[in-house]
């Protein structure tokens, strides 16, 4: 259902019998939820609304619409791998009502014309909210800052040269200062280009055994340390994209403790997989930053649990099949993640007791909406936007790449049998995804 | 369950048979001889024939060992001879009269492979074949020149030659293959 229909009033939607889990307010109780006119109208123990459409959500978790703050929608320019239409369909299938779109498209989003195109396309073809992220530098080439003011006015919510780091410390300093005026964060892909040059995986025992060039943990750590110092120097806000090493997580912990405005996100694959998965040379395990050691993985989980890492974001990076079906060192980096995040995280972290349900939801709702300053999102308060996700912690879900809504298939989780799935995804009061009976096999 | 195999030759009979074969060979072959055994058990039988031949008239008999695994027409049949070992023929093969020795002659394919192997080593003047047991059921036109014992058999039967160097005992057995057939009334 294209977003332009949001202009029209929708039939009221009543979610009955579910357990509201709203970390923003601390609410965790059985309440019914009424959505009307694109907003949350009421929440109370026993609601009865005559002309509303009723959704039975007994036994399920009713949470604010999930937000993925790091997604590559590929449009414009990369439509063979994904489009705004297919990417947002993948998003809602995964329970996400909103995504932040990274600017490394073709052309890159370093100008308001591209931002406007993306938003127009999302309104025409998308079924989830799309928040564009603009480039930090023109052409993403690391030298001159973009017209951040114009980009903000056009609709950008943050700035990043993702795919690449902002290599020059001086450029990063200026970017933090300039973006600070708008109160927006610079999201940095932290990787020292010279330490990581030519690397295709993590540097360690596995890279030695496989004869593949690796990048050391230090390649990420030196940039994270640099960014934290620069954020401290400028008072600006820096957000660490897809953090993956224990050293970087420790630096973020210390930075926060000393009052630096640093935040961080982690991907599901860095929470669940290690470099061992690369044995066998399957390119569905090649991404940047690479899968790391077990100690790094465990540190990611610990960092998410204790709040050092604020958010979970998938870094959904589609690639057409023929580009991934090559020798390992020739394959592009990236794996998709919108349609697998909830099942794999609920099965391996929540069901095992490692991560509390409220913390999972918080990392996917409160945290991204706070970091990107998204109005009316991230909570189930009266008058918030009617973006709601319904999760079923018991329903089985087997990951089958052939049935994805995404155009691409490059997932590291293919075949995983999970307990936990998405039942309903509601955007602006519209039921855009009904997952009952989906992938139960 | 298999029925106990029938003993066709015991150690004594085997020894007398080999002695008789050596006499026949020497009767037919007056020139210098070479004896070549096919791995694995043919080698031991060939060695014994060589000893007996040398005792008949004190003449030197050359001895060689042939591994024919590289010449089989069906590599999956190598199960009976799992390890490839060397062919060891130290004398020149060209211009010689050879007696090829094997334990059991059956389809004839092993001998065919052995003939290919020998001709790759040179051009013998003549190759004759000596086998301890001929069990029939040939699939190629190969016939032995010297036979220890001829026993008509069926495809579901199995002839085994045991030699003391490999098996600890000298014996020839005729038995059934693994699954028994239903008894005919």
């Amino acid at each position: 259902m294209p977003m332009k229909l949001l202009d029209q009033p929708s039939q009221p939607l009543l979610l009955k019998g579910g357990c509201l889990l709203d970390p923003a307010s601390g609410r965790h109780e059985n309440h019914d939820l009424l959505l009307a006119g694109g907003r949350i109208k009421a929440l109370a123990p026993n609601l009865n609304v005559p002309d509303a459409r009723v959704l039975d959500v007994a036994g399920k978790w009713v949470v604010p619409g999930l937000i993925d703050m790091h997604v590559h929608l590929r449009e414009p320019g990369g439509e063979d791998a994904e489009t705004i239409a297919t990417g947002t369909r993948a998003a809602v299938a995964g329970g996400f009502t909103a995504v932040a779109a990274m600017p490394n498209t073709v052309p890159v989003n370093d100008d308001q014309s591209v931002t406007r195109f993306i938003l127009a396309q999302a309104a025409r073809e998308g079924v989830a909210r799309v928040y564009p992220i603009g480039c930090v530098t023109k052409g993403s080439s690391g030298r001159e800052l973009t017209e951040m003011g114009n980009q903000v006015e056009a609709g950008c919510v943050a700035f990043s040269d993702d795919g690449k780091p902002v290599a020059s410390a001086q450029v990063m300093r200026r970017a933090l200062e300039y973006a600070g005026v708008f109160g927006l964060p610079i999201i940095d892909h932290c990787e020292d280009p010279t330490l990581a040059a030519g690397a295709v995986m993590n540097e360690g025992a596995v890279s030695t055994a496989l004869g593949l060039r690796g990048m050391p943990d230090a390649a990420e750590e030196v940039m994270v340390d640099r960014n934290i110092r620069l954020a401290g120097l400028t008072g600006g806000r820096v957000h660490i994209a897809h953090i993956s090493t224990r050293g970087a997580i420790e630096s973020v912990r210390l930075g926060k403790a000393t009052g630096v405005r640093v935040t961080a996100e982690v991907t599901p694959h860095h929470l669940l997989l290690t470099e061992e998965a690369v044995r066998g040379y399957d390119t569905d395990f090649r991404m940047n930053p690479p899968l790391r050691s077990e100690a790094d993985r465990a540190a990611c989980v610990a960092g998410l649990v204790d709040g050092t890492i604020d958010a979970i974001a998938t870094d959904h990076a589609p690639h057409a099949r023929e580009f991934k079906n090559v020798e390992f060192n020739a394959a592009p980096n990236g794996v998709i993640g919108l349609e697998t995040a909830i099942p794999v995280l609920m099965d391996r972290l929540v069901a095992t007791g490692l991560l509390a349900p409220a913390r999972l939801v918080e990392a996917l709702t409160v945290a991204p909406s706070r970091i990107l300053k998204l109005e009316g999102q991230g909570s189930l308060a009266v008058d918030s936007l009617a973006d709601v996700t319904v999760l079923d912690p018991e329903h089985p879900f087997t990951v089958d790449a052939r049935r994805f809504r995404s155009l691409s298939r490059n997932t590291p989780f293919n075949g995983w049998r999970c307990r936990g799935s998405v039942t309903f995804t509601i955007v602006a009061g519209y039921l855009v995804h009904d997952g009952r009976g989906d992938f139960a096999g | 369950m298999t029925a106990t195999p029938r003993v066709l030759m015991d150690a004594g009979k085997m020894d007398r048979t080999l002695a008789r074969m050596a006499a026949e060979i020497r009767e037919r072959e007056s020139d210098t001889l070479a004896v070549v055994g096919i791995r694995t058990r043919g080698v031991h039988l060939a060695a014994r024939l060589r000893d007996k031949l040398q005792r008949i008239d004190d003449r030197q008999v050359d001895f060689g060992i042939l591994d024919i695994n590289l010449y089989r027409d069906d590599l999956s049949m190598v199960a009976d001879h799992p390890v490839l070992r060397k062919t060891e023929i130290s004398f020149p093969v060209s211009g010689r009269r050879l007696v090829l020795v094997d334990d059991v002659l059956y389809t004839g394919r092993t001998i065919r492979a052995a003939l290919d192997a020998l001709t790759d080593l040179g051009r013998p003047t003549a190759i004759q074949l000596a086998v301890l047991v001929d069990r029939g059921l040939r699939e190629v036109p190969i016939q032995p020149d010297f036979i220890g014992m001829a026993v008509p058999t069926q495809a579901d039967q199995h002839v085994r030659v045991l030699v003391r160097e490999e098996d600890g005992v000298d014996r020839v057995e005729l038995g059934e293959r693994v699954l028994p057939k239903r008894e005919k009334p």
Partner: protein
């Protein structure tokens, strides 16, 4: 143990010591064929082998070709330069083209680590890895071990020093796996910039001073300094390397008096090996080349046996 367990030979890692022994023993028989007048047996008659050499290589390619011809196989040679590959055909499409010829074997040498595994996952043929990137070169390690065994009678308990750019060397990796599996002790020696991280996972210990590394060793294996793979960052100059890690007579005398001098070839005289040392009677470098044919014949024969049994089943 009468058979190899895998229908490919992608590397030494994962081979059991019995399988390694089987290959070495089989190669002994193959040596005999090389001593005959007619150096040919019909074992692989009617079978097709594709030699896919994406990287240039004279010695390994000819060694495989001779081995294939001695076994009477039909050969198709496919190299990267001057072929569709240089016009941008991917490894996948090349693999599909090769498959269409229905070969029984594909012998592949390629610059990407994992290339042999890539083909094994996508082709029906038996794949023999003739060197994939920095990963493995199993037939080289096997012929090296065969050479050592012929001189030293056994591999267990041998002290072997491997000297050179270990990081980029598939020969070092395959040899380390093989020798440690067979109970030998392996020492890597080279500048710290050329020793990969976590190298203990390969089973070897590291000694950065050449003099210490060579003390009393039974085998000295010198690796070629790959000029084509070198960057100044790992090695300030060849002159410096030769001074610190070149095998000269003085260093040679630190090893066991009957130590073997080995090298996968081609050697850089005056760089990793001094001129007079290369011609020392303890050098078995040329024997390695000859043994390569026997080893490759053994590998083809054993894999062909698996293939036939697989088809017959």
């Amino acid at each position: 143990m009468a058979d190899l367990s895998d229908r490919h030979l992608l590397g030494i890692e994962g081979l059991a010591s019995e399988e390694i022994t089987l290959i070495l023993d089989t190669a002994e028989s193959m040596v005999e064929i090389g001593q005959r007048e007619i150096k040919k047996v019909p074992t692989l008659r009617g079978k097709t082998v594709v030699n896919f050499f994406y990287e240039p290589s004279t010695r390994t390619r000819s060694s495989f070709e001779i081995a294939e011809k001695r076994l009477s196989a039909d050969i198709v040679n496919f190299s990267a330069s001057g072929s569709s590959v240089s016009k941008g055909e991917t490894l996948l499409d090349t693999a599909r083209t090769l498959e269409a010829m229905e070969p029984n074997f594909i012998v592949i040498r390629h610059g990407a680590s994992g290339a042999a595994r890539f083909l094994a996952d996508r082709c029906r043929a038996s794949i023999i890895n003739a060197g994939d990137g920095m990963h493995e070169h199993p037939t080289q390690a096997l012929l090296d071990a065969f050479t050592m065994r012929r001189h030293k009678k056994k591999l267990a308990g041998l002290n072997v020093a491997i000297v050179g750019d270990i990081t980029h060397s598939r020969v070092a990796r395959s040899n380390a796996y093989l020798l440690t599996t067979m109970g030998a002790r392996v020492t890597f020696c080279g500048p710290a910039t050329m020793i990969p991280p976590h190298v203990e996972c390969l089973g070897a210990r590291v000694e950065s001073r050449m003099e210490k590394a060579l003390e009393g060793v039974d085998v000295i294996m010198m690796l070629r300094i790959q000029r084509e793979r070198q960057s100044r960052l790992a090695l300030p100059s060849l002159r410096e390397y030769t001074r610190l890690y070149g095998l000269d007579r003085r260093r040679l005398n630190l090893a066991h008096p009957e130590a073997l001098i080995m090298h996968p070839g081609p050697i850089n005289r005056g760089v990793e090996i001094a001129d007079d040392v290369a011609d020392d009677p303890r050098s078995v470098i040329l024997e390695q080349v000859a043994n390569g044919v026997a080893i490759r014949m053994a590998v083809l024969y054993l894999l062909a046996r698996n293939w036939d049994a697989h088809e017959a089943a």
